[in-house]
Symmetry: C2
Subunit: 216 residues, 2 copies
């Protein structure tokens, strides 16, 4: 429920402010942005498994989206980044816009940030690294599609389509067919609507809980 | 210089890892992403001034971009968010992709994150808040333009144009005339090429220092 999500967001924020009061320069206290997973992540994700099929990988993204709704920690979106060949799970991401008061923290964005922190590189396409791919439970918005290009992933697989998200009044922003052509022309492979029905169930679950629509 | 920037990035990262070893759940250590300003920010920015003209506001963004290059803390891009009517400076942002190993941390993105943390809202367009606007030293990329829509700013003013950044091989991604129309149709005002020559000087400074081109 919206109320429940908001209450948790406020409580998380206050606790974060207590722990990280901000750096002080010249007497002025500046904000520090602190991005971390909610505590349920290890109950949802098996980090040691090798995810070899596309279905297995997408189900991680969908499971994270579902847990985010069930635990009232954010919007109905999840993402996961894998090493393409080994199937090793590098990072997940879940929508944290309301929880962390941060419009940037869509599931895909958190996954990119966490993966890059883990491998200590600002691109997952560094010469020393194996190929990486993103699985996301819903078609990326304009921001996330732009970030995909900078992230260094070589492939994007999405579950639910933008029309499915639009039914909940979530908006994708300025994404056009040319946006996808642009990514493809840079060698990024796009796979659409994998396990779309399973992904859509999580959107419906969020709607049934009257979850907050935080765009705009 | 690229070498100097890289060395600083590694040193910053190691220090960050020492200070924030990550949360441990079930024996698994997860990354924590920690975004903060470099230490020079208060030498560059006067937080107490009221910035009443567009030129004054853009010069904050350009000054931050310049300091980022001069201090070798990142790419030649700066941004600032103001309350539109009062001219109060709410947050700045500087490119931190290399410094923090994070492809998401373009100047505009850091400015959005810091501003939202400061006002404790995931949108700067909340009913309790005054109108906000973004000034950025260079035309936003696809990711930042998408984030602009979610950020809640009501106006975007940019300095240098995408062609100026392209001369340094920085890429803007899938941005089309329709992308701007989309934002404008949502009531976001766009002002282009303000103090373009002053903004371009910082790009040239970065090129002269052989700064790292981190896209891709």
């Amino acid at each position: 429920m919206a109320g429940s999500i908001s209450a948790r967001a406020i409580s998380d924020r206050e606790s974060s402010v207590r722990r990280h009061a901000g750096a002080t320069f010249s007497g002025m206290t500046h904000p520090i942005v602190h991005v971390e997973y909610p505590e349920w992540v290890d109950n949802t994700v098996d980090w040691n498994r090798r995810y070899l099929s596309d279905d297995d990988r997408m189900r991680v993204a969908i499971a994270v989206a579902r847990a985010n709704v069930e635990q009232s920690t954010g919007g109905p979106f999840g993402a996961a980044i894998f090493e393409s060949r080994s199937g090793r799970l590098v990072a997940v991401g879940m929508n944290a816009v309301v929880r962390l008061n941060n419009c940037v923290l869509h599931a895909e964005m958190m996954a990119f940030m966490m993966a890059q922190q883990r491998v200590a590189s600002y691109t997952l396409n560094a010469p020393s690294l194996p190929e990486h791919e993103l699985h996301t439970s819903c078609e990326p918005c304009a921001m996330c599609l732009g970030a995909t290009l900078w992230s260094g992933v070589r492939r994007v697989v999405y579950g639910a389509a933008r029309e499915d998200a639009s039914l909940l009044n979530f908006e994708e922003g300025p994404v056009f067919p040319e946006s996808y052509h642009y990514l493809e022309s840079r060698g990024i492979e796009i796979t659409r609507n994998l396990l779309r029905d399973e992904a859509r169930v999580v959107l419906e679950l969020y709607r049934a809980k009257s979850g907050k629509i935080y765009n705009g």
